[in-house]
């Protein structure tokens, strides 16, 4: 083969390679294949991508008797329960309950960590042991210690009372911290709270609260469920998605209706948006703020956001009575909807049902 022949062949081969590569080797083409049938199941509730573990999935069940004046503030990223305490002159304190792993027997660094937090020097091991007091926590012997911030003109005095108990390889920390005077005043209530705690580590996911003797008005309400408060004739049925409770009301001939309760962490758009959404559900056109003001009934003289609306579509005879109840940092949406013949007789019972949660 002479050189020019070789050159033209080589160029031809390379040109072909260019064309093949330029077409991208079919990467963007649809693929067809057969596979064994797969079942569609929800993946386990795991953390964000890249394996970040979620803290707030299954947690031990905790119950307690709520001391007077304490306000539940729900669970946090690490804590199972939080409470807010208020005192005179705007003084604030918080209580948290947090289980942590692998800290049994590490009282000395724990105490010193808290001391560091309020700006105190570290203590020697013997001194730490002397400062630990015996306390009963959830029926078990635990330890408690206090740290208080040194006098500082720029910051209000701060005090932390920490109680801890080790169960297996989990250490439970109960921490009362905040304004020094308020913390000192609340310490007896805190000790009583520690005694009242009941712990079931069987893996249930919700925390539960026993009713205190006199619940304060701002206390967070549990989602209403079938109970002695449920009006007669209402039948509890499994709630649908996004609902926390659902009841069927007594039928009047062929007329039917139901009550649903949903809870959200915010007002989900405000009263007008909610009312207009409800109006749409029974075929009514949206209204403005002026009309809204005329049709709402306020259920709580202390809170103008607690409202009730009653709407009926005269053409379809569909009626919707809705109530919005913001409470404890959550918004409860009550809805009685159905045929007017069935809904109207239940209005009084429905209103009382909502008011019972105030």
């Amino acid at each position: 083969m002479n050189r020019s022949n070789f050159v033209s062949r080589a160029c031809g081969a390379l040109g072909l390679s260019f064309v093949l590569l330029a077409t991208g080797c079919g990467r963007e083409e649809p693929k067809v294949y057969r596979i064994p049938k797969e079942s569609a199941a929800l993946p386990p509730a795991q953390g964000l991508p890249h394996g970040h573990p979620e803290i707030n999935t299954a947690k031990p069940k905790l119950s307690w008797t709520l001391p007077e004046g304490w306000v539940e503030a729900g669970a946090g990223q690490m804590s199972l329960a939080n409470f807010n305490l208020s005192g005179d002159g705007g003084k604030q304190a918080q209580v948290s309950v947090t289980p942590l792993q692998g800290l049994a027997g590490k009282e000395v660094p724990i105490v010193n960590m808290w001391r560091h937090q309020v700006g105190l020097p570290e203590l020697a091991a013997e001194e730490v042991q002397r400062q630990l007091q015996e306390v009963e926590i959830a029926g078990e012997p635990g330890k408690m210690f206090e740290v208080a911030s040194p006098p500082d003109a720029s910051n209000p005095p701060m005090r932390i009372v920490t109680a801890m108990v080790h169960r297996g390889d989990t250490s439970w920390f109960y921490k009362l911290q905040g304004d020094a005077d308020l913390v000192a005043a609340q310490k007896p209530a805190f000790v009583a709270f520690l005694k009242s705690v009941k712990l079931d580590a069987s893996g249930a996911t919700e925390t539960a609260r026993e009713t205190a003797a006199t619940p304060p008005p701002t206390e967070a309400a549990p989602v209403a469920e079938a109970s002695s408060k449920t009006p007669p004739g209402w039948r509890s049925v499994p709630p649908g998605p996004m609902q926390s409770s659902k009841f069927l009301i007594p039928e009047q001939g062929s007329a039917k209706g139901e009550v649903t309760i949903s809870v959200f962490p915010n007002s989900t758009g405000g009263t007008l948006a909610n009312v207009n959404r409800w109006r749409g559900q029974i075929g009514l056109s949206p209204i403005g703020e002026a009309e809204l003001a005329k049709m709402i009934t306020r259920l709580d003289p202390r809170n103008s956001e607690v409202i009730l609306v009653d709407m009926t579509n005269p053409d379809t005879r569909r009626q919707l009575i809705g109530a919005i109840l913001p409470k404890g940092g959550q918004w409860y949406f009550y809805k009685l909807m159905g045929d007017a013949e069935a809904v109207a007789p239940q209005k009084e019972a429905f209103t009382a049902f909502v008011k019972a949660e105030l």
């Binding site: 049938k37 979620e54 959404r277």
Partner: protein, 422 residues
Amino acid sequence: MLDRLWKVLTSLRLTAVLLALSILLVFVGTVAQADEGLYTAQERYFKQWWVFGISFFGHRLPIPLPGGYLLGMALLVNLLAAHIQRFQWTWKKTGIHLAHAGIILLLVGQLVTDLFSRETQLHFYEGETKNYSESGREYELAFISDVDEELAEVVAVPVASLTAGGEVRHERLPFRVRVKKVWRNSEPSFRAPAQEHGPPLTTNGIAPHFDFRPVPEAKTMDEKSIPTALIEIVGANGSLGDWVVSGWAGDDHLVSAIRSSYGRQMRSAQMGDAIARRLTQPQTVSAGGRDYSFTLRPVRAYKPFSLTLLKATHTTYPGRPDIPKDFRSRVRLQNPETGENRELEIYMNTPLRYGGLTFYQYQMAAGEMARQAGATPSSTLQVVRNPAWLTPYAGCLIVAAGLTFQFMYHLVGFLSQRRRVA
């Protein structure tokens, strides 16, 4: 004319120009990563024949540049042509030939790797069996229909090939897919029952429950773009409706993240479950006498064998629960074609090489943290298919052998000459 071209192809001047352009391209492509993101820059500057317009410190300059493919191919051609032109079989030049052959192998190997290698991930929970791995970044629109009691047929259309206003037709699908909108990256938000919303993208499937909005494409390595598209499925007798398909609904990782996130926000795991179920509810159309479910999911690569995660072990250093010491997956490999059924361990520096694939231990959610969180332990394996994985080793060895030979040849010649003089 041909001789002139040949002269250019074999010239050292061309080599110098190409190397200079390569340096320029690497510089410009690296700077552009700040504006365009790592993966876009790689695609636009290095995996292209030409680059039209460059990003330079926040400025868009209308400058054309030869792309990575063109420069690599031109260097290869230049090297080959020079070799053909100057090739002489003498002992004196054997080392040079070997070194050049090694470089050619490196260039070809890199091209083959770029074109044919594939990295996917296999994420599974303890007790779960999987026979497929998934792409970390690429998504596909998969239409799935039952063939018989046991088998399903999948027609998977790469999302990269979807364009707004475009249409997808396939001989195995009895309908056309009109792409009305396609967002390379998107964010979902739950249409809470009482939230103030505009109208949903469509009233079918997941759209009444979730809003999606476009967001800028991910730019860094630890972010990824999650595509969403609004499609219309058109059968033989007209439209079968508009549907929203989103990577947020078809990617298990993202669904579990949404489930946890809403569960936390609403302080109710049940609420999180309910929202996740709405997101993953099957979307189906009937056409040509069959039901077709469709989902936008990470591109899947199915294997003729399966792996079951038996145990995920995450150990840490004593006293330092935040520093991982070992990630280790105990898996069962089952291959119905060969009858294999064996247990093995995959851990750092000890991957599983099987079926032309390499399974590396990649990520893990196990151990104390996962146990404390009540999470099901899981493991992620990086699955690499690279038919050219040996070429860098072979290329470097050949280059080293060539240079050693050349050095020794000259050394021996020099020593014998000196002996003769002495």
